[in-house]
Amino acid sequence: MTLPKFDLLQPSTLGEALEILSTTQNAQPIAGGTALLVEMRGRKAEPGVLVDLGRLGDLHGVAPAANELVIGATTTIAELLKNPHVTERASILRDACSTFASPLVRNRATIGGNVAQGSPAGDMAPALLVLDASIELRSVRGKRLVRAVDFWKGPRKTTRKSDEMVVSIRIPLSQTPWLSSWKKLGLRKADAISVASAAVRLSLTADGKCEGARVAVGAVAPTPLRLAKSENALVGKPISREAIAQAAAAAAASSVPINDVRASVDYRRRVVEVLVRRALMEAAWEVLT
């Protein structure tokens, strides 16, 4: 099916792009286009004007600072996958990139696009939730930082206003060594949308006490979720198979999935428990064995 007609604007500066978004009805930023163009072909989105971010060089790349990693919104998933700072300082984001769609899509899809699209099944979200990342929004009115946990509001709904643009993702870096694991279930091994996904990070003492736990899941609720109940089942206790089983059961209890073409409510709730358990077991493996 052909694309609906639209005007394509290609600003060369961020200021110009923000000006267009603030003065134009029904305008939408486009970067890689791997999600938006598919939605438009299906007439699920019909913006009259697309604002191409491809010429805004300052939105692109990974900049390591002392206490945070700043990832430009138009950095592609393929670039994140190869970036040494991401691998060293935010390995769970690299892991999520490694299962993202296919290499062809990863060469175009951007982290900012995946975040802004707001799909409950978006694969960047659980990793960004457990990294406690913030999303930087800019508009002609100014800028604001929104914590990932506050960014997604419903299926394809985010806190971004129509004149705002996601310009960067900011990942705080801590001295704490975190153990992490990412588990994704799709209908096939590659090039699949998540049926359910789980990201976990654990901070364990030398004798195996859990000092910090972050658990997030995707595709089992109207938004990606960070799961306080699962985290509370772990923090302050020695890590154990029993505590992990409780955290996983809490994940299933906190899920409010939907029936769709990929899976049923019951299946998703069963499987998210398994994914959270496997992710926690993997992260804590050396202490448990």
Binding site: M1, T2, L3, P4, K5, F6, D7, L8, Q10, T24, Q25, N26, I30, G32, G33, T34, L37, V38, R41, E46, P47, G48, V49, L50, D52, G54, A78, A101, S102, P103, L104, V105, N107, R108, K189, A190, D191
Partner: protein, 190 residues
């Protein structure tokens, strides 16, 4: 500015070494532009980025051309399957696809050859897992992928032998150049 009156713009596409200037509106895809220029080796499959039939190399990176707006490729260097080689003068990857029996209906082949090219440019000696990962965005409904994986491995092994490097990673491939047609890669590829 609404979406009703869309204006055309002239862009430059460098395709397989030839420079084209084309005028088209902003909602046309790179896939459409290339096929209109006669590059029908770029196949139109799903138009959703699911099948990889429209794969091209865009500034050296394998992408789905159905999900690139033509204006976004203004000034870019594009390589299609026929830019790698022709029937009279095939690229070694194309020869390997023929030799391994990796082509049945052929619709997926141009895209798979380009994904293989992108892989081997970055990683001349890939494992079977790396090959399967690299072609995971290209669907083939005929072959079951075994011969395709063998073809990529065969192309890699031949290239490494040609450049005097021995291969130790892919235990599954042998050159098979002694059998002119249908040379088989033996081993554990399934």
């Amino acid at each position: 500015m609404g979406g009703a009156d869309v204006s055309e713009r002239k862009i430059t596409l460098r395709v397989n070494g030839r420079t084209h200037e084309v005028s088209l509106p902003g909602h046309r895809t790179l896939l459409e532009a290339l096929r209109d220029l006669g590059h029908t080796d770029v196949k139109n499959g799903c138009e959703k980025g699911d099948c990889g039939a429209c794969t091209v190399l865009l500034n050296g990176r394998a992408v789905n051309s159905c999900l690139v707006l033509a204006w976004q490729a203004d000034g870019a260097t594009i390589v299609t399957n026929s830019g790698l080689g022709t029937a009279d003068d095939p690229h070694p990857i194309q020869t390997a696809f023929a030799d391994a029996g990796a082509v049945q209906c052929g619709f997926c082949t141009p895209g798979l050859v380009l994904s293989a090219k992108a892989l081997l440019d970055a990683n001349p000696n890939p494992t079977e897992a790396e090959i399967r990962e690299a072609i995971s965005g290209n669907l083939c409904r005929c072959t079951g992928y075994s011969q395709i994986v063998e073809a990529v491995r065969l192309a890699a092994v031949r290239s490494l032998k040609g450049s005097g490097e021995a291969s130790h990673r892919g235990q599954s491939a042998t050159d098979g150049s002694h059998s002119p047609s249908g040379s088989r890669v033996t081993g554990e590829v399934q």
